[in-house]
């Protein structure tokens, strides 16, 4: 099962290495990982997508809790939540393809954020599934480069992960 873990971490050097090291040492998967400071500069928020059965996920959350710099954490996938990922795709576009690529980007609510004579750079935001679907939809177009931010997530409604 896929899980999205949100972790509040002391914003100290070495803290991130400890989290990543934990996953490597104990053989847990990381599908994606994003981290940045929050509105409180002493705290970073890390979003981590991982996979495993219930027992593995329970161990992961317990082991994360044991790290001294982990302040709080939540498994977002346990309740209603919103997830977003940002992707930028640079594609080769011949004159004939341009119209088609633009229409495809529009369908996915993507934006063309850079243009050269031979390329389009498209930005798409959404769930990881949607980004994958967009790549599928570009079928026939030559993709030069893709870059994805990794998943960020937040719970719906009043529920928050904060100090």
């Amino acid at each position: 099962m896929r899980h999205i873990l949100s972790v509040l971490l002391e914003n100290e050097s070495g803290a991130l290495a400890r989290v990543v090291g934990l996953f490597a040492q104990r053989g847990y998967n990381i599908d994606s990982l994003t981290v940045a400071a929050t509105e409180d500069p002493t705290i970073s928020r890390l979003t981590l997508v991982t996979r495993g059965d219930d027992q593995v996920i329970e161990q992961i959350t317990k082991q994360l809790h044991k790290l001294i710099e982990v302040v709080k954490l939540a498994d977002l996938s346990e309740s209603a939540h919103i997830e977003r990922e940002l992707m930028m795709v640079k594609v080769k576009t011949t004159a004939e393809q341009r119209e088609e690529v633009k229409r495809c980007a529009d369908i996915f609510r993507g934006q063309i954020i850079d243009i050269t004579a031979n390329t389009y750079t498209i930005q798409v935001v959404g769930t990881s599934d949607k980004l994958e679907a967009f790549i599928q939809a570009l079928n026939g177009t030559q993709i030069l480069e893709t870059v994805r931010s990794g998943v960020s997530g937040i719970s719906r409604g009043e529920r928050t992960l904060s100090l």
Partner: protein, 579 residues
């Protein structure tokens, strides 16, 4: 005038470090100097509160600190230089980590501006030690040193204890740069709140389940010793009249001479302990972690048991074996709460069922009963341990190395008190025994301290005989010399048709002469009749380190031994018998 008196004293980073250790109540630091810690060593020289013990290899410093912690319950302190000094300490840090031993390791580091340049004696000690520490930190500003020392001790000693590494770049300790010194009284971290008391509802549920049991067993581990709860454990077990088994790490938490004690469990546990576990209907696990050396194949583990598990570390609960009633908390307050609840409701087990259970246990006891083959040709290692037990009246601190001798010590030295049995259970570190004995002897100079070792293990830190001479650490070394890496040989006998691939140690030194060369007494024992007089003499020599080189049966195996891949109660009982 008064305002001047209350001004904090100005100290250099190095002096602050030493003062902070003194304020923390540290008496001894074990270490080895080098470039990156010279300022600190100079600060050490200029005061008399904190004493330094110079080992001969940094690994020994860590084991000394570790064993001091195991015997006293307080964190041991190590001081090493950057680079090779720090990497030499790694095995000892990992040893402490695996057994949850509180320890503070102070490592020098190259100057801040050189970090990352592959400077002379630079290693990324924070990176190297990360997977084997409870926490590690580096000093960025000298004025933070008192706070970081406090934090290091707090983390090392609270909750589930463990080693903490403090990395100090050389420029943090420059003698001429002084800062106001104040040692924090206490400390609170928003991200770390270790001292759980246990949920009263869960404790009640646990007690109800335990009282309803017909075939209960109390399985206790190192957590009871670390949590200083053996009194509570013993009281509770006696009140309920239930059988008690201890893990390798938990020996002494319940008195071995008590009739309710059924021995150690696990790979080389007693026949009765492993049978009791396998057939139990309720397993009450206290400060134990269902390690693979205990459970054997987890799929076949104790099929009929409801498991109650007390542990301070939630990650230890349901990690390898699912716990039905988990209780997260320090064992001492949880057991106290349990005793109170028991007092209140005056509960008792079904006495008839319990009677049947004890009858069954009695039958199991008679099956193997710790017997071992007698031999006319050779001294038996088990007999040596029994003799050492007699000569020390069962009251010594016993440290060990790793191998067959370790298991014989665990099986045949009947520990009646906690903190007396000091061995590397989790990591299984050969080379632990001698420095561990030194760490205990330094703090308990009046106590009898015995190191049970093998001719393989002792050579991993033999150089410490020199440190023993320097500090008058008169431990007794019982070298169970079987001429082999015995435990390796045993596996080769059992699984590799006795192909002794690199398990034969030829060209062994003359240990008697070696001991003498270091200024100690060496005694060799090769025949059974020499044993008693040799022990007599050794223990009478109070102010001497005595190295007893005792030649024991090279063919002996450790039994019982669980059959790999089997259930807890599937065991070899001797070279020719199995369950």
């Amino acid at each position: 005038m008064t305002s001047q008196n209350t001004q904090p004293e100005l100290l250099s980073g190095g002096a602050m470090l030493i003062r902070a250790l003194a304020d923390e109540g540290v008496e001894y630091v074990y270490g080895y100097p080098g470039g990156a810690v010279l300022h600190i060593y100079d600060a050490m020289f200029q005061q008399h509160q904190v004493k330094h013990v110079l080992v001969r290899h940094e690994q020994a410093a860590t084991h000394m600190a570790d064993a001091y912690a195991r015997a006293s319950g307080k964190a041991g302190v190590v001081l090493v230089t950057s680079g090779p000094g720090a990497t030499n300490a790694v095995t000892g840090i990992a040893t402490a980590y695996m057994d949850s031993i509180p320890m503070v390791v102070i490592c020098g580091q190259v100057m801040s501006h050189l970090i990352g340049d592959d400077a002379f004696q630079e290693t990324d000690m924070l990176g190297i030690s990360r997977p084997i520490v409870k926490h590690n930190m580096s000093v960025r500003r000298p004025e933070d040193i008192p706070y970081l020392v406090k934090k290091a001790f707090y983390i090392a000693q609270s909750g589930r204890p463990g080693p903490v590494v403090l990395d100090i770049p050389k420029d943090m300790t420059i003698p001429s740069q002084k800062f106001p010194y104040e040692y924090p009284k206490d400390i609170k971290l928003r991200s770390y709140n270790p001292n759980a008391k246990g949920h009263p509802g869960q404790i009640k549920k646990a007690l109800t389940t335990l009282l309803a049991a017909k075939k209960p067993v109390l399985y206790s581990g190192g957590g009871v010793i670390l949590g200083q709860a053996s009194e509570e454990l013993t009281t509770l077990a006696r009140k309920l009249n239930i059988p008690v088994t201890n893990t390798l790490m938990g020996l002494g938490a319940y008195p071995a001479s008590d009739p309710q004690f059924i021995g150690m469990l696990g790979m080389h546990g007693s026949y009765e302990a492993n049978q009791v576990m396998h057939n139990a209907d309720v397993i009450f696990a206290v400060g134990a972690r269902f390690d693979d050396r205990v459970t054997n194949a987890t799929k076949k583990f104790c099929p009929n048991a409801t498991i109650i598990h007390i542990d301070i570390d939630p990650a230890s609960i349901s990690k390898t074996v699912n716990a039905h009633i988990p209780i997260v908390g320090l064992v001492k307050p949880v057991l106290q709460e349990m005793l109170q609840q028991l007092e209140k409701n005056q509960g008792q087990l079904d006495q008839q069922a319990l009677g049947h259970w004890w009858q069954q246990i009695q039958q199991w006891r008679e099956v193997h009963g710790g017997r071992y083959e007698q031999s006319a040709a050779h001294l038996k290692p088990q007999a040596v341990i029994e003799a050492v037990h007699r000569h020390t009246k069962g009251d010594a601190y016993v440290t060990s190395d790793v191998g067959q001798h370790q298991m014989f010590a665990a099986q045949y030295y009947k520990f009646d008190k906690p903190n007396r049995w000091i061995n590397s259970g989790g990591l299984g570190t050969m080379g632990f025994g001698l420095p561990a004995a030194m760490g205990v002897k330094l703090h308990y100079p009046e106590a009898e301290v015995v190191c049970v070792t093998g001719e393989g293990s002792i050579q991993m830190n033999i150089q410490e005989l020199s440190t023993c001479k320097q500090y008058g650490l008169n431990v007794k070394i019982i070298n169970l010399n079987n001429g082999y890496l015995g435990m390796v040989k045993q596996w080769q006998d059992m699984n590799y048709d006795s192909r002794y691939s690199s398990s034969y140690m030829d060209s062994l030194p003359d240990f008697v002469k070696l001991a003498e060369a270091y200024g100690h007494v060496g005694i060799r024992v090769t025949k059974a009749e020499e044993l008693e007089p040799a022990l007599e003499r050794a223990f009478a020599l109070k102010d001497k380190l005595v190295f007893l080189d005792i030649h024991v049966d090279p063919t002996e195996h450790v039994y019982p031994m669980q059959i790999p891949g089997g259930a807890m109660n599937e065991m070899f009982l001797s070279k020719t018998e199995r369950t």
